[in-house]
Amino acid sequence: MIRKILQIPAAEVLPSRGAVMGGQGIPRWTTPNGKISQLADDALSLYGEKARPAGILMEIPRDEFGTVFQGRGSNEEESPVGPIYRASDRLALFAVTVGEAVCAEISRLFRHNDFALGSMLDSAASEGTEMAARAVEDFYRTHLRDTGMLDSLGGTLCFSPGYCGWHISAQEALFNALRPGEIGIALNESFLMQPLKSISGVIVAGRKEIFDFEDTFSFCRDCRTHSCRDRISSLLEQ
């Protein structure tokens, strides 16, 4: 079972200008004015300078993950994560961050009334963190494929505490097992990660069909993104 720390080059998880602008609500088909384009470039340059992306990955046996998933017993009665992980072939806990410096810079910019650049950098850092999580998932999937543990009928999908009925208090058990303090991620008493631009969760590997679920759970009503739809679609393309 692997446990690995990944130092991810910032250039590998540098968001596109379009993605950063998308985070600001600017559609890709529009041509923003020169000031906005300059802000996006400045934000990406700051992100490149301040971001220190890193990830940690650790495989975990299914029964041990059951304890992590259960956490403090606060999960929703029904969650898609339960049946999916029970039907999985392999599981790996993971955490990624783009580091404290970029988060501190966002706060500094807001404190100094540079709201537009602060907000643009926030979008860049959010997208960069998502890209770092995808980089760790890609690494794990490639590892499984290279070692013959995942064939073309299989794929991977990530889930995080705080989403899909998996209560955020499960972060405590996840952190105890994974120990992401080694890459500078700490958990506060509200079970939120610091630096804020961090993502943790589980990468589930298994046959693609185990991941197919409808977004009709009670908590899906409160979810505005329904990003599970896109993630399931890209899984089917893996």
């Binding site: 000031k35 009334n113 537009a116 907000s119 643009m120 509200s190 979810c223």
Partner: protein, 212 residues
């Protein structure tokens, strides 16, 4: 073009340096402080808000204008205090307990300030007690709460319940916002309104306080 109109237009362009310069010139020229505030700065931000709402401009344009607003307000504020000119309302705002995501809340606070409200920003991870203590201490007209995680949304209901318990619900209006929220949820927990973004928060607070 008069200096007030020029001030408003400079603010709309997000030209903080020009706004500061024109605010100083307007004061030196003996213009009434409230006129500079209402017809120059707030009027400019109001146009920005309308243009954002109609998708003519984007969030960064609004934030550049907000920075220009702050540049003008920093010069004007000592005069407003000295002349006893009150803000149009007082809002206590924060991200609820258990949640550290404050970007949305910051944007709402910026827009409310731009519209002439006094905003007391409690930051993030704010407990129901802190919301109510601050609102009561400051005699706030509105409590604004933000949450990004579905798991922290119940804290909003705890704030509404505590406001009822302390007898301030109704007197102090409660607004909520954040990615996973909806108008239905706001109604369900007994909040006065759900605000989709900073612009709608301004409209919503004005409406709740009869300032629109």
């Amino acid at each position: 073009m008069g200096i007030i109109q020029e001030l408003s237009e400079s603010l709309q362009r997000g030209d903080a340096g020009k706004v500061a310069e024109l605010t100083r010139r307007a004061i030196d020229g003996g213009l009434d402080t409230k006129t500079i505030l209402d017809d120059g700065l707030i009027a400019g931000m109001s146009v920005v808000g309308e243009r954002f709402k109609s998708h003519e401009i984007f969030l960064p344009d609004v934030l550049l204008a907000a920075r220009a607003m702050v540049a003008g307000m920093e010069i004007l504020k000592p005069l407003l205090v000295r002349e006893g000119i009150p803000a149009i309302g007082k809002v206590v705002i924060g991200t609820v307990q258990g949640d550290l995501h404050d970007i949305g809340k910051n944007l709402v606070a910026i827009m409310l300030k731009g519209a002439g409200f006094e905003v007391i920003d409690l930051g993030n991870d704010v407990s129901p007690q802190r919301f109510l203590d601050a609102a009561q201490k400051e005699n706030a007209h509105v409590i604004g709460m933000s949450a990004l995680l579905t798991t922290t949304m119940p804290v909003m209901k705890a704030v509404v319940d505590l406001a009822k318990e302390r007898g301030v619900h109704g007197r102090t209006r409660i607004i909520v916002g954040g990615a996973p929220l909806s108008a239905d949820y706001a109604r369900e927990i007994g909040a006065d309104a759900y605000c989709f973004d900073g612009t709608s928060a301004v409209e919503c607070v004005k409406k709740l306080l009869g300032r629109s």
